[in-house]
Structure formats: structure tokens, C-alpha cells
């Protein structure tokens, strides 16, 4: 953790009880498990790392094609491919423990019991700072999105996880809800320590030549700049509705979008798709926030959070 020199803005803050040296994370599924980008950027400069979703058992995911570039973003239908709990812990935890930044593990299940069971297992794994609970994946047939789109089911999953672990828990909510404040409140009431917003948007593309869907999974999730302004609105609504901090993501391509999220009420942000465009995006965002605070005479990033002016 760096102590800001006198006069230079303070980027540090705590989210869900985790101390962050800055509010910029990398989003689940876009940064692998860490080693993939380690040769390219200094991971220890990130606010935190959120790893690709883990389930109890290994998961093969969807057939290919799994990804398609579209104007302003991309569709993905990876299908939560992952090595499963045991292999993840054996293969990746030694590397992740060696980092000096907080590690947030993204978890998912097909049943409420699986979520609880997996959270309990991670409770016993040293080096994990928090669990992000994915109840919003558009790309798996059972579970996933169905949990997140119904506030009662979401609450049931979150309560089960809450009972199974002492780690801070951060449910990740879907963007396609008609009542974000209600969903966010349900998550808070069920024991969330923070809330992640948003996952990719359910979407679809068709090849008009063959009249077939382009993704093998037929539908996928839209991410990238195209979803940013929708995400800003959802983050703003959620931030007004709950006291727990919000971690915002959706179309961050540079510092401006991240600053927008902070002003809308997010305490931290995560860079997703832009890691593919430029692996150094998160580092650029950190420096951009620092510059913005300095230019505007704002001493701490905490003063920026929720500073939206409506009058």
C-alpha cells in the first residue's frame, strides 16, 4: 500500500471491509486468474483482482463460437468454463497469494445449496479477501440469471452464502431488472457487504446469410462501451437505494467512464472488456482518476463517490 505524498490525492478506500489502495479492479472473466496478464502489467498496482467464476466441479462451458465483436462491444457466451474449486485452489492460489493486492473470488452454482457449499469451502482458503456471488450470468441454462432476476431467489442465494462464510460477500446483480432499487435492497437485506453492478446484458446476433445464430449458445451477453450509459443509470439507482458500497462495471474504456461511475455513487469500479482492447486500461484508469482529483482539488476519491450534482 502506498501512502500518498502530501498534496497528491488519496485513492485508498475500504469496500466491504477490504482495504483498497485504489478503487480500480479488473472484472471477473476478463482477466483469467491473474497469471495471464502478469507479464504485461504490474498486477500489484491494481485495486483488486476479481478472478473468473469458479464452481464446485469443473465446468466445460459452451461450444464455439463463443465470442463476437459487435459495434461498441462484444457478445460472449463462454458458459463459465472453469477448473472447479479444487484445481483452482491448487493451481492458482499459490500465485494469487503472492500478490500484494486483495483477491476477490467470483463463484457460481446451479442450486442454492451449491452456492452455500462453495462459499463454505472458500472460507477455509487463506488469501481470499471476499467472494463475488454471480447470480447474473446470461450464459448458463440453469441457475445464473434466473437467481438474479427475482429478488426473492436472489435473497435466498445470498442468505445461503451469508450463513456459510465469514468472508465479505458481494452479489453481482443482472442489469435486466425492472426494479433495480428493490433488487439491490433485497441483496443488502440478505447480508451483502457490497454489490457488484452490472453483468453483461442478454443479447443475440444472427447471421442473415445462413439465418443461424452466430454464437453456438444462440444467446450471449453484451459488454463494452455499448452498455456503459445503461450501467451508469443502474448504479445510480442502486446507490440511492442501499447503504452498502457499489462496485460498478460496464463499458469502462478509460478514466472518464470510471469517474462517471464514482460520481453516480459507486465506491469502486472494475474494468472488463477493455482489458482485451488494451491490457493496461486499468492502470490508465488509476492514473486518470488521480489526475482528475488533483486537477479538481479533490483530496480523496472518497469525496468523489456519490457527488452527482442535480441542482
Amino acid at each position: 500500500m502506498t501512502n500518498p505524498a502530501a498534496g497528491s490525492p488519496d485513492l485508498s478506500l475500504a469496500v466491504a471491509g477490504i482495504r483498497l489502495q485504489n478503487p480500480v479492479m479488473v472484472a471477473s472473466g476478463t482477466f483469467g486468474y491473474g497469471p495471464e496478464f502478469a507479464e504485461l502489467i504490474d498486477l500489484n498496482r491494481l485495486g483488486a483482482i476479481v478472478v473468473k467464476g469458479i464452481s464446485i466441479e469443473p465446468e466445460k462451458g459452451n461450444p464455439t463460437p463463443r465470442m463476437l465483436e459487435v459495434p461498441g462491444g462484444l457478445l460472449n457466451a463462454i458458459g463459465l468454463q472453469n477448473p472447479g474449486f479444487e484445481k483452482f485452489v491448487a493451481e492458482y492460489m499459490p500465485f494469487l497469494r503472492g500478490l500484494r493486492i486483495p483477491l476477490i473470488v467470483n463463484i457460481w452454482g446451479r442450486t442454492i445449496e451449491q452456492y452455500g457449499n462453495l462459499a463454505a469451502r472458500f472460507d477455509a482458503v487463506p488469501g481470499v479477501s471476499a467472494l463475488e456471488i454471480n447470480i447474473s450470468c446470461p450464459n448458463i441454462k440453469q441457475g445464473g440469471l434466473t437467481f438474479g432476476s427475482d429478488p426473492r431467489l436472489a435473497a435466498a442465494v445470498i442468505s445461503a452464502v451469508r450463513k456459510s462464510t465469514r468472508l465479505p460477500i458481494i452479489p453481482k446483480l443482472p442489469p435486466n431488472t425492472s426494479d433495480m432499487p428493490a433488487l439491490a435492497r433485497a441483496a443488502e437485506d440478505a447480508g451483502a457487504n457490497a454489490i457488484s453492478l452490472v453483468n453483461s446484458f442478454p443479447a443475440m446476433a444472427i447471421d442473415i446469410r445462413t439465418r443461424r445464430p452466430i454464437l453456438a449458445n444462440i444467446t450471449g451477453g453484451l459488454s463494452g462501451p455499448a452498455i456503459h450509459t445503461i450501467a451508469v443509470k443502474l448504479v445510480w439507482e442502486a446507490a440511492k437505494a442501499v447503504r452498502v458500497p457499489i462496485i460498478a462495471m460496464g463499458g469502462i474504456a478509460g478514466p472518464e467512464e470510471a469517474i462517471e461511475f464514482l460520481i453516480a455513487g459507486a465506491s469502486a469500479v472494475a474494468v472488463g472488456t477493455a482489458n482485451f482492447t488494451d491490457p493496461a486500461t486499468a492502470l490508465r484508469v488509476i492514473e486518470g482518476i488521480r489526475g482528475y482529483l488533483a486537477e479538481n482539488g479533490i483530496p480523496s476519491v472518497r469525496d468523489l463517490v456519490g457527488s452527482l450534482r442535480l441542482t
Partner: protein, 267 residues
């Protein structure tokens, strides 16, 4: 693996619609091995979030080059680059081809821009071999002269018969096999469209020789993080067992016998 801002040093037409784009990337150039690729952020492609992968065609001193033709918006934007423009390059990526086995005869088989992935292999191989190169017409036979200059034998095949063998490159190869392979066991190194890769996998199996295939797949990150580019790979046991390999990180080159082909795969 490096992320570098590269300055375009040369951009020239090669043959038919193909061009060679050269750029200065000291660290990438120094580390490049045959069959690796570079993931390029095409400048002035604002709405696009993904880089574009290209085989590294040449690596010489501080400069690497790619061989490409315009097929979509990214390659169209690439075509407008001029000397002095900069682009962001991520590489060298992937494992590339293994060094040809001692004693075997290296046989390179290329379709379309496949020659780009094979040129460095020919340049750096300890012993010279044969290149089979195919295309629809003579305008598609890229860089055959470069391989000849290296002292490699070049066998061309064109579907319209405008140069060399009339038919597919695999047809030319079959003739050569029938005429006796000589006294050395061939080892195949293949890059080209999916149909060519599968056809060469079949031939390698029939001849009981090794074939190294370089695969293309739509890519996201290029570094193994997003799992967009996966390919089914056989596991030794039990029969039928497989796992996903990431073409960008674990490939793009795989031994033909390890690949589990799937008719629904894109290519």
C-alpha cells in the same frame, strides 16, 4: 510477451490482394519464434473493442511484419496505415511450431496467408525441405520465391491451373507421396483454412507421421484469459475424453493427432 507501440516502417503490396506491413517492435521482434502471432490494436477503429491477430511473417532485428489482405473493417483500416503511423502490438503470442525433428524432412503446407506462419520456420530450420503452397490462382501463391531463395523446394498448386499442379494443394501432395517420399520421413507443418488442416490431419494419420497444424479462431484477449478461442484436445485416457485448449496460449499449433474435430466448430 510485450505490449509495444510500434511505428510502421514499410507497407507494400506483395501479390494479389496481399500486403506486407512492417513495424518496429524491438522486444517483440527479438523474442519471436516461428509460428507465433501478434495481436494488433488497429488505429482509427474506434467502435471496435477487439484486437486483430496475425501470424508474424518476418522478424528481423527490431522489425516484424505481417502478411494480410482486406477482409473486413479491421484489415481495411490497416490498409490505410502509412510509414510513420503507430499501432499497438501485443506479442509474440502462442507457442508456435516446434523445431523440425532431426532426420525428418520438413514439409510445409500452406493455404492462403498460411505461408506467413511458415516463413520463419523455413528461414530458421537447420535442414531444408519442401513447401507445398496452394491457392485459387497464381495471384494467390504468396512468397513462393522467398522460400526458393532460402533453398527450399517449392511445389505450387492452383485450382485454375495457372501455375504448377492443377487442383488443390493436397492433390499435389498426394502425387508427391505416391511418387515415393524419398528416404526421409516427412514431418508436416501446416497453416491454412480449416479444410486444409483437416485434410492434412487425415494424411498424417494414414502415413503415420507427425503433422503440426496452426489453427485460427476468433480471439478476444489473445493471452489465455477470456476462453473465447478454445479447441477440443484429446486426453490420453479414457477413450473419448477431451479438454479445452486455448488456441491463443496453448496453441496456435497443435499436433494433428491431439485435435478432436467437431463439425460445429467455426473456422
Amino acid at each position: 510477451m510485450h505490449l509495444e507501440n510500434a511505428s510502421v516502417t514499410q507497407h507494400r503490396p506483395v501479390a494479389g490482394a496481399y500486403r506486407e506491413l512492417s513495424f518496429e517492435t524491438t522486444r517483440i521482434a527479438r523474442e519471436t519464434r516461428p509460428g507465433q502471432f501478434v495481436h494488433i490494436r488497429v488505429p482509427n477503429l474506434g467502435e471496435s473493442v477487439l484486437r486483430r491477430p496475425f501470424s508474424i511473417y518476418r522478424a528481423d532485428g527490431a522489425v516484424i511484419s505481417i502478411l494480410y489482405k482486406e477482409v473486413g473493417k479491421g484489415t481495411r483500416a490497416l490498409a490505410r496505415l502509412a510509414r510513420g503511423d503507430t499501432l499497438s502490438a501485443l506479442g509474440p503470442l502462442g507457442n508456435g511450431f516446434p523445431t523440425p525433428a532431426d532426420g525428418a524432412l520438413p514439409v510445409l503446407v500452406a493455404g492462403g496467408y498460411g505461408v506467413a506462419a511458415l516463413y520463419l520456420l523455413a528461414e530458421r530450420a537447420r535442414s531444408k525441405g519442401v513447401l507445398f503452397v496452394g491457392g485459387s490462382g497464381r495471384q494467390d501463391l504468396l512468397c513462393a520465391g522467398d522460400f526458393e531463395k532460402l533453398g527450399w523446394q517449392v511445389v505450387a498448386a492452383t485450382e485454375d491451373g495457372s501455375q504448377g499442379f492443377k487442383g488443390r494443394v493436397t492433390g499435389a501432395l498426394d502425387e508427391w507421396v505416391k511418387s515415393g517420399l524419398g528416404n526421409r520421413t516427412p514431418e508436416f507443418f501446416v497453416c491454412g483454412p480449416m479444410g486444409l488442416l483437416r485434410a492434412m490431419a487425415d494424411r498424417a494419420k494414414a502415413l503415420n507421421v507427425r503433422a503440426w497444424l496452426s489453427m485460427d479462431r476468433h480471439m478476444g484477449c489473445g493471452v489465455g484469459a477470456c476462453l473465447a478461442c478454445v479447441q477440443r484436445i484429446r486426453l490420453p485416457s479414457p477413450p473419448g475424453a477431451w479438454k479445452w485448449a486455448r488456441i491463443c496460449r496453448d496453441g496456435p499449433v497443435f499436433e494433428a493427432g491431439d485435435i478432436l474435430w467437431d463439425d460445429r466448430e467455426d473456422g
